[in-house]
């Protein structure tokens, strides 16, 4: 339905379940993709699966210098970065009273600060091109909160406020900045939950099931498309009705 032929996309966290499916969806729509992540092997595997128009750029998002370099490397291998998907994220859950500064800081650094740096790094090219799409993968917990995830929820809510501010600044340059907030999505992370935990979660989801990472990828594909040019500063919640906001 959406055609991204000739467009280039940088996707962080592409070695993960959601990131991998985002890369597949954008690639299937015709985009050239740069797959970023910390672990090279799964990225190479995905690149091999995609075939042509796929590049691997490993990057540790807690390393500021490496993050600054990433948009430049992506522009070198692809010629430009038209679409940026900030999908990478980490969790370091702990009760608020026990939360260590290091747990707070590392989650904020990777989830929020690296997102800011990558956005900043791709803006020059997008402004010149008068076309750009930035899609930040937030989370339902950024809007609702979640016990044990004070750091993660703060970082994901921060991404929303940052996206809106940036969206204001660059809207008249043909650049849109949006967030996608997944609810509970079946991934390697949620596979670790036991049946009792899963059942408890499902009672909270009107759709009665966990989401599929392809359903997040479809939301990203829409926001990346030319057709979504008039959608900016918004958060697209994809959560099976778990939070209707």
């Amino acid at each position: 339905m959406f055609d991204l032929t000739g467009k280039t996309a940088l996707i962080t966290g592409a070695s993960g379940g959601i990131g991998g499916d985002i890369a597949r969806a954008l690639h299937a729509a015709g985009a050239t993709v740069a797959l970023s992540g910390t672990r090279e092997a799964p990225l190479q595997e995905l690149a091999a699966e995609l075939g042509e128009r796929a590049h691997v750029l490993t990057c540790n998002l807690s390393d500021a210098t490496a993050v600054e370099a990433l948009p430049k490397q992506a522009a070198e291998v692809m010629g430009s970065v038209d679409i940026l998907v900030n999908n990478a994220g980490i969790t370091k859950d702990n009760l608020f009273m026990r939360m260590k500064d290091e747990e707070w800081q590392s989650v904020l650094d990777v989830n929020l600060t690296s997102t800011m740096r990558l956005c900043r790094g791709v803006l020059r090219g997008m402004m010149k091109a008068r076309w750009g799409r930035i899609i930040n993968i937030s989370s339902i917990v950024g809007a609702t909160g979640n016990p044990g995830q004070g750091n993660y929820a703060a970082s994901k809510a921060g991404m929303v406020g940052m996206s809106k501010s940036l969206a204001y600044e660059v809207a008249n340059r043909g650049i849109t900045v949006n967030a996608v907030a997944p609810g509970f999505i079946a991934t390697a992370m949620t596979d670790k939950l036991n049946d009792t935990q899963k059942d408890a979660i499902l009672t909270q989801i009107p759709a009665g099931r966990m989401g599929d990472s392809k359903e997040i990828a479809a939301a990203v594909l829409y926001l990346a498309s030319t057709e979504a040019a008039y959608v900016t500063g918004t958060t697209l919640h994809v959560n099976g009705g778990m939070a209707m906001i």
Partner: protein, 77 residues
């Protein structure tokens, strides 16, 4: 008018869509030529490319008028 001034003026005229005679020595990009703050960032980007120089952020902030731009670029290039 110097070559630098001509080239800077061409960029300003093209980018801001203003009449050439409005681009005077003391014309402020924002107050006189209708630029918004993002336009000034883009002008600096365009100057950097045209003249093959780097204009650091703190220097860019001092470039408020056409004359400022010509002076800075003449000294830098």
């Amino acid at each position: 008018m110097s070559d630098v001034a001509d080239r800077v003026k061409k960029i300003v005229v093209e980018h801001l869509g203003v009449e050439e005679d409005k681009v005077t020595e003391s014309a402020s990009f924002i107050d006189d030529l209708g630029a918004d703050s993002l336009d000034t960032v883009e002008l600096v980007m365009a100057f950097e490319e045209e003249f093959g120089i780097e204009i650091p952020d703190d220097a860019a902030e001092t470039i408020q008028t056409f004359g400022d731009a010509v002076k800075f670029i003449s000294e830098a290039s």
